[in-house]
Amino acid sequence: MIKIFCYLRFSFLRLIRDPLSLGLTIFTPPFFTLFFWIVYNNSTTDVSLAVLNEDIGVETAQKRQYYGNQLILLLSDTSNINEIVNLQLVSVESEQEARTMIKKGVVHGLISVPAEFSVKCAQKREAVWYFTLQKGILYYDAVRLLLDKCNIQFNSILIGKKLLVDIKSTDFKEQTKFSIFDSFVPGLLTFAVIMLVFSVSGAVSREIESGAFIHLRMSSLTPVQMISGLSIVHFFAGIASVFVTLLTIKLSGFSFEGSFYGILILCSLTIISAISIGIIIASLARSRHKTLLASCIIMFLFILFSGIMFPVPDIEVLRLGQNTVSLFDLLPTIHLHSGLTAMLFRKAEFTDISYEYYALIFLTILLSAAGKYSLKYFVYTDS
């Protein structure tokens, strides 16, 4: 333990003596947060959805009523509910036609109103309309929130009738306004964690390249002790980065509804994974130049395939109970992003995102072990 604290102390000194690297690690994510807020806070976006209205209507005393049409009319003009997402509705004749359009990227989802919708509305029975949204599209949660609000408004028009969509409306936090900036919040927090890959891989490769690592190898400091000392220092740098980013997000007007401790646990687990990835990169690359290149590749991998900016391709690898494990589930950041999205926008509890938690715990253990072995076999031993 003394050796861990000894190495930790000197790692800390080395970290604070490189203020540029430390500053970039901690303040780049908040800077991007501020930048995104300026650019996207008041911007609008169009989201196209196919509409399959099969409602046959219902005969009432006065005239034939089409509640389905009323619902579509409400969805076609949502400016009074949300000024950020503009729904562009495209009528389709069949579900097959809608699926083809989704596949081609013409629309992002399907809203379907069943044939008996008006009948059930008139009979004061539970009427259901459905929507299917392409998972992973940008502003996914913004659209879901908007549709939910439409449903609530439609309920208020038909007082006394309970309409249900296939999502729980109570899952969404009650926000008066959902901006495009808000949809970037989980991604910005994920980015704060990803930055650690650079700082850790840089610190380790600098130590290897300076040759000073040889004195650590010659001492009785084990790879585990070295990783522990280094990780503690960079863990707190990562936490500081997450906190400053959270503070910037809060100051930009975003209201946090999810569990703060839940967010902290998710970020902490991913920070440990990011530190391990940094150690693996530095152990294999061994020079600062190669480490920088390798870290860039990893960063792009995380940004492109974690749902931060683009939809994640669903490439199924195996099934675990009810959960499908896809190829990109191997990236810890995909679970952080998904967990944060669920927490921040749907007030998800632990049970709702247990898959994300367990996946992160598993990946953290796996990556920590890989970090230890890569340091031991590629740095501690020459042959």
């Binding site: 050796k3 000894c6 010659m218 001492s219």
Partner: protein
């Protein structure tokens, strides 16, 4: 300190088809100085790295024995001064020497005393709290040596410690090596390209040639062979 005999027993190492070391066998009494000489690429650094445990030998072993017991034991506390300057540029001289001492199990008060003493001995006291990146080349060399010796290892491996050090610096490093060997009974094995250094230090001389070693038990024997042009023409 107990008296040991360090045994280097038939160490061989090859890189592909190149046999760098061929059954190198050496016996070193504790507290003695061994000076390794040889042309570039003769295998001195490879030999040192194997002794340190940084490189695995293809065959052979390195161990120590006491006069009382025939049971071999491993050499645990080794100090290694690499040929290249290997220091932390963003730590001060005092900080990095303290870290190495503490990581090698020295307690806080003992390490403080040892670091101050060594800084003084290596004439680095005035630069003790200066970042290593700000030191001159010669000072960095001395710090490099200090990091190998700060934890008082029983067996010190110094790979060309005098390289790049001025005449004045060389003299006090030589004196210091002689001092720790005779007074503290630390065993020193070092390499050098400079013939005078080999003669000045009070130890046995080992010539590395084509992966094999030729041992000269004294400076006189070595000097005689030099006069026969043995080293000048065939080895060095």
């Amino acid at each position: 300190m107990d008296h040991f005999v360090y045994k280097i027993d038939s160490i061989s190492k090859s890189f592909g088809a190149l046999n760098v070391l061929k059954n190198v066998t050496l016996e070193i009494q504790s507290g003695s100085i061994v000076i390794c000489i040889g042309v570039n690429g003769a295998g001195k650094t490879t030999f040192f790295k194997i002794l340190c445990g940084l490189l695995k030998a293809d065959s052979g072993s390195f161990y120590k024995k006491t006069a009382k017991s025939s049971q071999p034991s491993s050499v645990d506390v080794i100090g290694y001064c690499p040929q290249e300057i290997s220091i932390w540029p963003d730590l001060t001289c005092r900080e990095q020497m303290t870290m190495v001492a503490r990581l090698n199990g020295m307690n806080a008060s003992k390490s403080k005393e040892q670091v101050n003493g060594l800084l003084n001995r290596l004439q680095l006291t005035s630069k003790a709290d200066t970042l290593a990146s700000k030191l001159s080349g010669g000072m960095k060399r001395r710090l490099n040596l200090g990091l190998a010796l700060v934890h008082e290892p029983e067996f010190c491996i110094l790979d060309e410690p005098l390289d790049g050090v001025d005449l004045h610096g060389r003299k006090f490093i030589r004196d210091y090596i002689n001092e720790i060997s005779s007074q503290k009974k630390q065993t020193i094995i070092m390499s050098t390209h400079i013939m005078e250094e080999a003669l000045y230090l009070n130890g046995i001389i080992v010539l590395f040639k084509n992966g094999e070693v030729i041992i000269f038990k004294s400076q006189n024997e070595f000097s005689d062979r030099i006069s026969e042009d043995f080293l000048m023409e065939k080895a060095i």
